[in-house]
Symmetry: C2
Subunit: 346 residues, 2 copies
């Protein structure tokens, strides 16, 4: 049985990985330009982010399932590809600058509680003991010891080592593919191939560089109402992300995007001002009307689709990939994906 | 008589130009990397900027002399090189965001008056009539109809067309040059060659791009105490400059530099947020202890030096170049450069 996967990003390659893990060898991944995937502008924070709105509970269940799978997924990816993906388990911090920001952190703390995830409220002073370079006026926050982290670029680099065929091809017509099974996992490209309502949500992200890391923890910060995450890498790089903009398929880096990231970053961590700009990026997250993914077997076109993971593609990759691989091989999966059917949009 | 010019930036090449204009042909310009000159991070605002401190009057006199020469200089450069340099005479605006910023503009208005330069105070409303996209809360400002503008990149491109020899060489020892006359005009590099106290003052600058120009005038803005200039180009580019940082020979673009430019730019002209980042730059201005240039014939080493023009190299290029060319050819110049002797630092 030959399997064709349209899309060589985090989701497509994770599916390829789980198929390879299950002994499949006849796999082709179609992607004209794998450098354009949403994963390349992801920070790799593995934290629950589903909030009020579409089925907090069902999306949270899939996130929990996927987070549970992440340690084994990371270990198996590294073992099979021989490539480290910088999986870290040292938890994240929520950090609020003002009293209003603290109210938002309190809301997030409630969300962690409802999701049954560990969360420990911390004073500003306690936060500064953990991270001495946080701004003196940081009001408070919390520690989420169960939130993990991976480097999405390293993950992609690892998955590119898989023993599958990579075909640099932009699939515009599924009938041109000869594979016995076709999996559509090309993010925003899934809209054109399947008719599903997957739209681009732009995200801008910066990479800064300093001699020494300014932080030990990943920080999810809120400063004067502006969200930002700060992801330190061991080599002194600090990733600052990410905007969320409804601008269609626009990949430009804008002055407003830079301001929206740098302002809260420097407010929370003044040392950011001294860091050197090393890269600016803009990517397109594939999002659905309810911002939850579609993971389903379609009748027309006759494909399996896994797309629309919005900001959660890295987090949801292990569960999505296992569900799809099981569906391909066994015709069904034990992972509960009933809430993620395409039919909810028709 | 062979002439060697060390330094292929705005000052060095302007001197070469005035020598060529006076019939000299045996000219060599030494510069290992002309893309590193301070002129490449200049905005090209031809406005008086000498303020209280070192001899406002004498530096202002040289600026006035140079501004008087600019129209002819521009015309002759374009005629000789066949290359347009985007010389514009439509004046600049001073724009203040807050009441405190207005006080600073009032101080600048006083400076224009003392310098005998035209300046017309304007209300916020009058400014917005001239520039409808300025922020509604802009408090006031002024119009300086006598301030002109040139594109420093185009000027450099034009001057590179001169019929002189360009030698890509880093001159570290003047005794290796065989020329009859040697002119040292290599900015911060003049310190090592002459012992003069020329230090680097870092400037960061951004280029943004939009479909249409947001401004018709060059704007010198002050927003919550932060200075910024906004230079629109006809093709929709907007130059935002420039920081002034004492950081030695550091050419990095930093998060703090971006913030220092983008914050006042977006405060004064909200449409900036929508513009696309097209380039970030950092350059090193050559500055002396009094931030005025050295234009002088030295005894030891036996060279003519023209360096240390700080933020005013583009503005001062015509007067400096004429003074040096006359000194080379006639042994003296009618331009009063007595205040700019090297001896003032010993």
């Amino acid at each position: 049985m030959s399997i064709g996967i349209v899309g060589g990003g985090i989701i497509g390659l994770s599916i390829a990985f789980e198929l390879v893990e299950r002994g499949r060898t006849d796999i082709t991944v179609y992607d004209r330009d794998p450098t354009q995937g949403a994963g390349l502008v992801a920070a790799g924070m593995l934290a629950p982010t589903a909030e009020a709105g579409f089925g907090e509970e069902v999306l949270q269940d899939l996130m929990s399932e996927s987070m549970r799978r992440w340690p084994s997924f990371a270990e198996r990816v590294e073992a099979r590809t021989g490539t480290p993906i910088a999986y870290r388990t040292d938890g994240t911090l929520l950090v609020a600058l003002t009293a209003d920001d603290q109210a938002e952190v309190d809301r997030l703390i409630g969300f962690y509680h409802r999701a049954g995830r560990p969360i420990e409220p911390l004073s500003g002073r306690a936060l500064r003991e953990l991270e001495p370079l946080l701004a003196p006026r940081v009001r408070g926050g919390a520690r989420a010891p169960g939130d993990h982290q991976v480097d999405p670029r390293r993950l992609l680099r690892a998955l590119r080592m898989l023993p599958v065929r990579f075909e640099a091809r932009d699939v515009v017509d599924l009938s041109t593919l000869q594979d016995d099974v076709i999996i559509v996992a090309n993010g925003i490209g899934a809209a054109a191939l399947t008719g599903l309502p997957v739209r681009p949500v732009k995200g801008q992200l910066l990479r800064l560089r300093g001699a020494e890391p300014l932080l030990r923890h990943v920080v999810r910060g809120i400063a004067a109402g502006r969200d930002v995450y700060l992801v330190p890498r061991a080599d002194g790089e600090l990733i600052v992300g990410a905007t969320e903009e409804e601008r269609g398929a626009d990949r430009t880096v804008t002055a407003g995007g830079l301001l929206d990231l740098l302002r809260p970053a420097a407010d929370l961590l003044p040392g950011v001002a001294e860091l050197v700009l090393s890269e600016t990026l803009a990517g397109l997250r594939p999002s659905t009307p309810d911002n939850a993914p579609v993971i389903d077997r379609l009748e027309s076109p006759p494909v399996i689709v896994a797309a629309g993971h919005h900001r959660n593609g890295v987090l949801l990759a292990p569960a999505t990939a296992a569900a799809v691989a099981e569906t391909v091989i066994d015709g069904a999966t034990n992972i509960d994906i009933t809430a993620f059917r395409a039919g909810r949009f028709t």
